[in-house]
């Protein structure tokens, strides 16, 4: 990445919420600063939020149960919200979901702002709803999320197993916005993370301008489905 092209950057604290409208033609880089981060994320068409990230459409169009470079995130309308154009991790979890107040309370014990100030425990469900609320969205808009930097393996019997040390300090991925995309993020721990301590990790975000995907773009040509997905996305802007 050409550092001089970065438009702006910041660090999201562990356990914090974040949102931004990623403009078409820019890319969002997410970096795990310490190793073991988790970035829960949901994406919406900023111009019509009824169009949003769709887990099953993303998985079945590409026949995948993980996300990495070359794959894309589909909306329910057959369009591509973002493409993964860079990734040093190799596996990001699209199925594990997010944590709840009940789960966080059971795992890490009681916590309150009164006692712990800004170190009080956060959970993914409430964090998504808070950040969605800032854009006029609510529980009906809360859909299956992605967990960047985390990995969940599935056994032949269907058992789900959280992989330890999936993401290391310095690991990063880059999402190119193919539409104007409302990104809703939080850095709460993965719900299946066996760590008994409340230790959500920070994630560094930076945004830069990028070229539009060419005809030979690796995400476009990774499979015929994605070629059609890019065409449908480009038609939206005609």
């Amino acid at each position: 990445m050409n550092e001089s092209s970065v438009l702006w950057e910041e660090t999201i604290h562990g356990g914090a919420t974040w949102s931004h409208v990623l403009k078409r033609g820019t890319a969002l880089r997410l970096a795990d600063l310490q190793g073991g981060a988790n970035a829960g994320a949901i994406f919406y068409n900023f111009e019509c939020s009824a169009e949003r990230y769709n887990m099953p459409d993303t998985l079945k169009a590409q026949h995948i149960g993980r996300l990495t470079k070359g794959f894309v995130l589909y909306s329910d309308m057959g369009r591509i919200l973002c493409s993964i154009i860079e990734d040093t991790v190799g596996w990001h979890d699209p199925i594990g979901g997010t944590s709840s107040a009940k789960l966080v309370g059971a795992k890490y014990g009681p916590s309150s702002y009164q006692e712990q100030r800004n170190d009080c425990h956060k959970n993914g469900h409430d964090s998504f709803l808070i950040e969605l609320g800032k854009w006029g969205l609510g529980p009906r808009d809360l859909v299956a999320n992605v967990n960047f930097f985390s990995r969940v393996d599935v056994s032949p019997d269907g058992d789900m197993d959280f992989a330890l040390q999936n993401s290391k300090a310095g690991d990063h991925l880059e999402l190119r916005a193919e539409m104007n995309v409302l990104a809703i993020l939080n850095t709460c721990q993965h719900p299946l993370d066996p760590n008994p301590r409340y230790e959500p990790k920070p994630v560094h975000v930076s945004i830069r301008r990028v070229a539009a995907p060419g005809l030979d773009d690796p995400c476009r040509i990774s499979r015929p489905e994605n070629g059609r997905g890019f065409t449908l996305t480009e038609r939206y802007f005609l």
Binding site: A50, N54, M55, P56, D57, L59, K60, A61, Q62, H63, I64, G65, R66, Y74, D76, M77, G78, R79, W91, I95, G96, G97, T98, S100, K102, H125, G138, P139, R140, D141, L142, V143, A144, N145, D153, V154, S155, P156, D157, G158, D159, M160, P191, L192, E225, R228, G229, T231, L232
Partner: protein, 219 residues
């Protein structure tokens, strides 16, 4: 919880208070009262039954695929599975299952996703998400596309491989296999009996399914 858990029901279809055949390609929407038992029968085998559940008193409190599989730490549904919402509400419990495995990740077909997956010319073909939308519009309780979330595919087999691939495996359902669940709260059920012709999820021949309801006292 792991593996296939085949359990037969002792409920007598003759004592059901409701029985309806849903033809292929049709939606069905219906309320269940707390304690009622609800069975879906795959009459002719290998028919995907795309299904969503809602708290009947608050449609935003709805079945969540990710919360359901996360809580049981297994991606397949079978006997014993609690179908939960993102708020943690237990909507239904699967109490009998003669198929043994039901999908949580494949979602519903749509005219748009068919264009991506198969060809632009497939846009005209009937799809589950059109059925879902038609059903919630006719239900006329303010539901919209925002309420159409990631659904269950009863009788469908969609494994994830160790390499992280999603595969649509051969169906493990046969004629007459069924799944039965108990409503743990008042529930709205929304079904699209899948019309997909472009892949083997309905064995390239969508067929009718039957739904039955019993009062809890019969169990």
């Amino acid at each position: 919880m792991s593996g296939i858990n085949l359990v037969e029901s002792n409920l007598d279809p003759a004592k059901a208070i409701y029985s309806q055949v849903i033809p292929a390609g049709e939606p069905w929407i219906h309320e269940l009262n707390t304690g009622q038992y609800f069975r879906i029968v795959d009459l002719q085998g290998n028919q995907a039954v795309d299904t969503l559940f809602y708290n009947a008193h608050d449609y935003s409190d709805r079945y969540s695929a990710q919360d359901t599989i996360q809580q049981q730490r297994n991606i397949y549904l079978t006997t014993g599975t609690k179908l939960v919402s993102a708020n943690g509400t237990v909507l239904l419990t699967i109490v009998a299952d003669t198929c043994g495995r039901h999908d949580t990740l494949g979602g519903a077909c749509a005219t748009e996703s068919n264009m991506v997956r198969y060809a632009f010319e497939k846009r005209h073909m009937h799809a589950c998400r059109n059925s879902f939308l038609k059903a919630v519009i006719e239900w006329d309780h303010g539901m919209t596309k925002r309420d159409i979330t990631s659904n269950i595919n009863f009788f469908m087999n969609v494994p994830v491989t160790p390499e992280g691939k999603l595969t649509f495996a051969d169906g493990i359902s046969d004629p007459g296999k069924y799944v039965e669940m108990r409503a743990e709260t008042d529930v709205l059920v929304l079904i699209s009996n899948c019309p997909q012709l472009n892949n083997p999820c309905n064995a390239y021949n969508p067929t009718p399914v039957q739904v039955l309801i019993w009062e809890g006292a019969e169990a």
